[in-house]
Symmetry: C2
Subunit: 98 residues, 2 copies
DNA sequence: TCCCATAGTTCGGAATATCGGAACTATTGA
DNA sequence: TCAATAGTTCCGATATTCCGAACTATGGGA
């Protein structure tokens, strides 16, 4: 869980949106067919890649539950290690979107 | 000045170190020959590129003074727009280095 | 004025990363 | 065992990164 990987992961607006969604909803994200993030259609192979990047950055944890994968935010763990980092980043994106 | 560009710029530890150095010293950075950032030697073409990325992200401002270029941190302007962002990022790197 | 030295940028090619369609694997239910 | 759904891996096209070499810009002499 290094800053480099976290920043790289969240420097992509699509991944930031995915992470926001995972953090907000507590979990889940279907890769099947085409998923929609924000208002953009993402092919499942790309989504799978994005989720891998988020996982390897330590931002989310993935568990297989039967046929589907559940993605959980590791927000609190990251925040414990790097206080305020995630809030500042997601806050910055939110400011732009507003 | 978008979060995407800022995060991308600072997701490179070398650029984060350059930015920290510029923020700390107020300015300056010689591209001539080979510069040293942290304890790593950086060819001047790479350094020039890094500085361009920082500039285009809105993190620094560059002024030519005679033959040399002076780089100033735009930290306070960025902080006004995205409160806490830079502090959180540089803080995260500092935690790792410590 | 002309040339040199120094600071920095741009070019170009090799290495590397990204995106997304197609094929593949994994799991469950019938 | 087969079908359906969820997700991963492969691979080719495209874009990015890195860095040496060539180039540009500025100032200071002779």
């Amino acid at each position: 869980m290094r800053p480099k990987a976290i920043l790289h992961a969240l420097s992509d607006p699509v991944r930031a949106a995915i992470f926001t969604q995972i953090s907000g909803q507590g979990c889940v994200e279907a890769c099947s067919d085409v998923a929609v993030v924000g208002d953009k259609a993402i092919p499942k192979s790309s989504l799978s890649h994005h989720i891998k990047v988020l996982r390897e950055a330590g931002l989310i944890r993935c568990e297989r539950h039967g046929v589907e994968m559940r993605n959980h935010s590791r927000c609190s763990e990251v925040d414990q290690r790097f206080p305020g980092l995630i809030a500042a980043i997601l806050g910055a994106y939110a400011l732009v979107r507003a």
